[in-house]
Amino acid sequence: MSVLSPTLMSPEAAARRPWLEHAHDWVVTVDHKRLGILYVVSGLVFFVVAGIEATLMRLQLAWPGLHIVPPETFNRLFTMHGTSMVFLVGIPIVFGFGNYLVPLMIGARDLAFPRLNAFGFWIFLFAGLLLHWSFIGGEGLSGSGSAPAVGWFAYAPLTSRAFTPGNATDYWNLAVFIAGVGTIGTAINIVATTLTMRGPGMTLGRMPIFVWTMVTVSAMTLFILPPLSAAQIMLLLDRFLGAHFFDTQAGGSAVMWQHFFWFFGHPEVYVLMLPGFGFVSEIIPVFSRKVIFGYATLVAATVSIGGVALSTWAHHMFVVGMGTGLNAVFALSTMLIAVPTGIKIFNWLATMYGGRIRFRTPMLFCCAFLFQFLCAGLTGVMLSVAPFDWQLSDSYFVVAHFHFVLIGGLLFAIFAAIYYWFPKVTGRMLSERLGRWHCWLLVVGFNLTFITMHGQGVLGMPRRIYTYPADRGWEMWNLVTTLGVPLQIVAVLIFVVNVAVSLRRGERAGDDPWDAWTLEWATSSPPPEYNFETIPVTTSRRPLWDMKHPDDPDGPHE
């Protein structure tokens, strides 16, 4: 059954069309909604692949001295896992949601440049397939193909031809570069759309918080992704034309790669996380039945996170030997960013306070998000204390920290968003019962794995090692960490089943199943191709609240 049937056909006629025609529609589409779905679905598929890679790693590390995978394979696994999760899962899903929701939320009919949008998706998909082709393409060592094994941040000079022969690193370099080009295109699209295509009455100060987060991260992308592309061009020139950008034997600087990479890499994780904050900022008010507390400060916090994030990158380099001055400066900027981030948590709590909280699945995921992201933020502040980072950098403590941010924070927010907007996209509700199982299993499994993982870190276990000595006292920590994995796998499987079953047999959603307040709920589920019959006129930050409560509209309070 087609999710978005051509609205000119009757549903029966639409269902009878040959599947090839359906497929063709999806391949040639420039509709932001379809492209958004394509992005999110592709991201989730890569998520499963990267999750399998993680599972293999955790199996290998469950006990010292195991031989589940040989060392070279393990090194490829963590490289592919990290690279995939950031570039092929996080970014596509986040920008996919942006694609789908931004025009609807601001009362537009599509993004500014629909063909550029389509180009962005297909170039991302090509990049993802290119990266994974590396497993089987080209010459390989140890018979496991030549997937890159240089880590997701690919430090020089390990990536030079001298230390990494073969084409594995080139797969990494080119795939990530190409994906980056697509992301820059989408970012341009979102900025142009929000600045120039808002519907009548939709001033910047009335845009949903999610749209603010998408504009912020798109603007950030314009500044931060090109430096990565530049560094990758330099690496390409080093590897193929004998340039010496990062060639330490010829006087080049290995540290320069790190500066360029992290100038991109740190803001990138905020690019991933801010839309997660956007999801939560839309969902918590609806399920607390209260307006978001402090819209203006939330927007200010969002934009300032975007700005300050550009100044914190070298906290990934505290152990490189930058000197006391730079260490202090970057410690300060990193600590400062905790302020607007903390404020957001307070705003969400204040929104829930005094409300009538309904614990439907989207809200369950948001609640887990709140506690887990609080932990993540606090371990982040700990790591910003440079001397503490001198111990814990490149240890499992850092791995625990960023998985708390990206799973405990972002992934939970993404699942909240999927449960919340699935009815709008498909016209059907996801099962609440399966959703609760999904959520609780994931909470238990995730925390079992990643709370424990802080332990290995403080006990001195570094990252990216395929095994470890038996006499360091790390075995039990690693075993428990691994035990959380099957729970998370089952949770994700339940989610997949939920989606499959609900697509066919889910309860019909109607236009506005959650009794929400933003513009996307003012059209049918799924929306027609042109989004709205007539573009609604926006009278406040919650246009549908004004409609439902004509006696007490938001306008005078804003």
Partner: protein
């Protein structure tokens, strides 16, 4: 829901869509160039062997004059189209293409001399490593610009270009101004500071 007073669907005029997009592209491209500039500045004076910039670089006066004046010609061309004068627009755009091509030819000659007479390649030393990519990145953007401008000239000649396309040609001209702006920076960093 009815749109009782709103007539147009979006808050700003149509042409701002393209302008916002082009500004976004320019920001991203500036960031890209910025990193190559940083690398060039960082490695200034750090080559362990020659040839050194002072030995082999000569200031590209003619090319620079051509390129910078092409910004004037492209502005005139965009404005002419805005007034409906397709013929004049096409002429100015052609002038722009010729000036840009002259600049490229100068770069090509300079590189030929550097490689074959002075023995400076990208692999020779840190100067070569940063010089060629930075100037080459700019040159590649000039080429893209010349292709776009060339297409505009062709469309002007065949009559496909009309006044209604003025906003689009304006965007091409903005891109060209950006390329010129980058040259000012590259010129300063490579031929003035870096020497």
């Amino acid at each position: 829901m009815s749109a009782h007073t709103a007539v147009h669907e979006s808050t700003v005029g149509h042409e701002w869509r393209g302008r916002a997009g082009m500004i976004g592209l320019i920001i991203a491209e500036s960031s890209l160039f910025g990193v190559f500039v940083v690398a060039h500045l960082f490695y200034t004076g750090k080559s362990v062997n020659g040839p050194y910039p002072n030995d082999v670089l000569t200031i590209p006066v003619i090319g620079t004059i051509c390129l910078l004046s092409s910004s004037v010609s492209v502005a005139l061309g965009a404005r002419a189209l805005g007034r409906g004068n397709v013929g004049r627009s096409g002429a100015w755009l052609l002038v722009t293409v010729l000036l840009g091509a002259t600049f490229l030819a100068g770069t090509a000659r300079e590189w030929h001399r550097l490689i074959y007479r002075d023995g400076l390649t990208i692999a020779t030393n840190l100067f070569g490593t940063t010089f060629y990519p930075l100037v080459g990145l700019h040159g590649s953007h000039v080429i893209v610009g010349l292709v776009m401008l060339g297409l505009c000239c062709v469309f002007a000649a065949t009559g496909a270009l009309r006044a209604v396309h003025a906003a689009r040609v304006e965007m091409v001209s903005w891109y060209w101004h950006f390329v010129d702006g980058v040259w000012v920076v590259v010129f300063t960093v490579v031929y003035l500071i870096g020497r």
